[in-house]
């Protein structure tokens, strides 16, 4: 495996006397030419919602089929793949048994099978994922990726049932979720995509599905190493407050810790491509030492599937009574703290708006506008402006718009976790 990981640590290691919280942003960059990386073959499962609602408007199912065919065309030769149709249960559309191996003929056969797909029945996404898991079970080396497309809500199983499935499949493959139209639930798909360490996005217009599927599949094809973990060693008496991916999107990994040794835990990061960079925000509470003392507050390692360490970084703490040192903010930590607050303000604001609490909604979304403005997150600022009228961005003065298109509100909600990468020094 020729993929190498560089870990850069951004922090202000100086703490005032008695302070215990240590924050750092880790920029993890994988490097390696795809040709030189002896990647294990990838596996890809496409899950297409085939519930009754996909029939209306008719363009929806047609677009989903077209997108699936485009995704099939994007599969590299040799990639293992399958297509699943999802209803209140799940069935394999192609191949007849297990996973197919991508070739000109298998791609054509799969496309023909997809063309025959009809929509009828309910929605139980947990069942879809369980079938995907069974198909991928034999493919235990190399990146395993799922694309889940739906247009509706998970009506035919309880949230608890879905939770049970997610607990079971988390870590077994990665996955991206796409909601087409506006009848699906952002929170539901986000729950699935977070469990699968992937992305969630809205495709309001079915006509845009094909390009999105092509791009997602292309990204999946670039993955060279699967099952990479972020291993965190912390000193005795320390507590990891959180570990979050903060770029390209927010993804809280704190609950995903697996203890591997004393004072050492691993957090899954999924699969990595040969030229990929992500940022993580790590917060650790340590036992404060005396002024003048230095401490290793955490050692972060990127660990491959065989437990081999692929890269390392150190998070330090040094106590000082020099306030000029201890009050200095790490721009990286401050930036991502702001991006997390931005996402939270959007979510809280939209929730308040839904429940008719105009005052809270205005305050929260106003705060979001201000944070987006301050951090230069233009994409999010644009989405916010479709939900609120911005009177003054620097102060966060806004008014709720009386009429907001469902797609605009859902787009803002869905993309609230997409962060702007910290600019300085990169």
């Amino acid at each position: 495996m020729a993929l190498e990981f560089a870990v850069e640590v951004f922090q202000n290691e100086y703490l005032p006397e008695g302070a215990a919280e240590v924050h750092a942003v880790l920029t993890v960059s994988a490097a390696g030419e795809p040709e030189q990386v002896a990647a294990d073959p990838a596996a890809q499962v496409l899950i297409v919602d085939a519930s009754g609602s996909m029939r209306y408007p008719p363009a929806k199912l047609a677009a989903a089929k077209r997108a699936t065919r485009v995704a099939l065309d994007a599969l590299r030769d040799g990639v293992r793949f399958a297509v699943i149709a999802g209803t209140e249960s799940a069935r394999v559309v192609y191949p007849a048994n297990g996973l197919a191996t991508a070739s000109t003929s298998s791609r054509e056969a799969a496309k023909r099978a997809v063309a025959r797909l009809t929509a009828d029945g309910g929605t139980a996404m947990g069942q879809w994922l369980l079938l995907a898991d069974r198909l991928l079970a034999d493919h235990d080396r190399g990146p395993r990726h799922v694309i889940l497309l739906t247009d509706g809500q998970n009506q035919h199983e309880t949230p608890e049932e879905l939770t049970g499935v997610l607990d079971r499949v988390a870590g077994r493959f990665t996955g991206d979720c796409r909601g087409v139209g506006t009848d699906w639930q952002v929170a539901e798909l986000r729950r699935i995509s977070e469990a699968l360490l992937g992305t969630v996005d809205i495709i309001p217009d079915p006509a845009d599905l094909a390009e999105d599927f092509r791009a997602m599949t292309a990204t999946a094809m670039e993955k060279a190493v699967a099952d990479v973990s972020l291993r965190l060693w912390t000193p005795e008496g320390a507590e990891v407050l959180y570990v979050k991916q903060v770029a390209p999107g927010l993804l809280d990994l704190s609950d995903r810790r697996a203890d591997v040794a004393e004072r050492t835990g691993e957090y899954p990061t999924g699969a990595w491509a040969g030229a990929e960079s992500r940022d993580y925000h790590v917060a650790v509470r340590v036992r404060p030492a005396e002024v003048g003392q230095r401490m290793l507050a955490a050692r972060a390692s990127l660990v491959g599937p065989d437990g081999d360490v692929l890269g390392q970084g150190r998070v330090l703490a040094a106590w000082t009574d020099d306030t000029a040192l201890s009050t200095r903010l790490s721009p990286e930590v401050a930036h991502y703290t702001g991006q997390a607050e931005l996402a939270e303000a959007i979510r809280d604001g939209l929730e308040a708006r839904k429940s008719g609490d105009v005052e809270t909604a205005t305050a929260k979304l106003g705060r979001a506008v201000r944070l987006a403005h301050e951090s230069g997150n233009a994409d999010t600022a644009k989405l916010l402006a479709k939900v609120v009228e911005v009177e003054d961005a620097p102060s966060g003065t806004v008014r709720l718009r009386a009429r907001v298109a469902d797609a605009d509100e859902m787009t803002l909600d869905t993309r609230s976790t997409v962060t702007k990468r910290v600019g300085k020094g990169r």
């Binding site: 912390t234 000193p235 008496g237 340590v286 002024v291 003048g292 003392q293 230095r294 401490m295 290793l296």
Partner: protein, 327 residues
Amino acid sequence: MNMEPSKENCPACGAAVSPQDRFCEGCGRNLRVQRTPVGGPDAVAEPRCACGGDLDAEGFCVRCGRARPPARDRVEFVLPGLAGVSDRGRRRQRNEDSLAFGRVRARGAAAVVCDGVASSERAEQASQVAVDTALDVLLTAVQSGGDPEAATADAALAADAAVGRLARPGAEEVAPSCTFVSALVTEESATVGWVGDSRAYLVGETGAARLTTDDTWAAQLVAEGVLTEEEALTDRRAHVLSRWLGADSQLEAPQAVTFRVETPGLLVLCSDGLWNYLPEPEDLWAALPRGVPPVEVARELVEVALKAGGHDNVTVVVVQLRGGHGA
């Protein structure tokens, strides 16, 4: 780890030597002169962290994460009849004090303490270069029987020049600088020299006396009657030096005092990290442990400063005065 050399073995190579030998037959080392190593006594290199955990390759404890303290953080060195302790204290990032001392068998001893000026560059390097340079001059005088006051002046000026050479062109404002206090002790007499606010005390059987006067603006104002002693202690200029060693010192000579040693006693050299907490000779006298060797005295005095807050680096060198009974 106390480095008191056995009288039976060469301190350098460990070969057996007799007290009459001038040089070690094994390695040729001069057995009459013993001194702190140039560059500073190696700090005790603990193989483990204080918590008991192993240290990793980078010097961090694999258990509690603490970094191995820098070598200068705590320095202890012991020779027959004199010893010194230097400690970073509880507040400062670095220990910028340095100490050096040595003895010439049957002749005498010499000691130097320098306190790096915190607002200058590479203050720890300044104080280390100063003590090593000055001690060389003083020990040569002890060996050759040179004039103690002349040797003290030479030592201070040589140290001043050595520290001055550390300065970067164009950065005179922050040129490395430090204080200076020295002692040259023979069987009959002792000479103390100083520049700045590091001090020397003489401890006898009935009390202690300060031998130095601080070269600070506050002390000058007290001398001129502008401030009282009490006001000076809390005045923000209390530690602003009026004289120091370094490129910008314009030093002509240290202050010096020589006295006859007729009865046993102790000579205590220290940085302001100690006397801030024990400003009067009576305070020092009260804090001083009795009937223990010099190293225990130095450790206890440093401990007093640390317990009182340890706001600055603390350095104490204690020289035993035998009063004609042989150094």
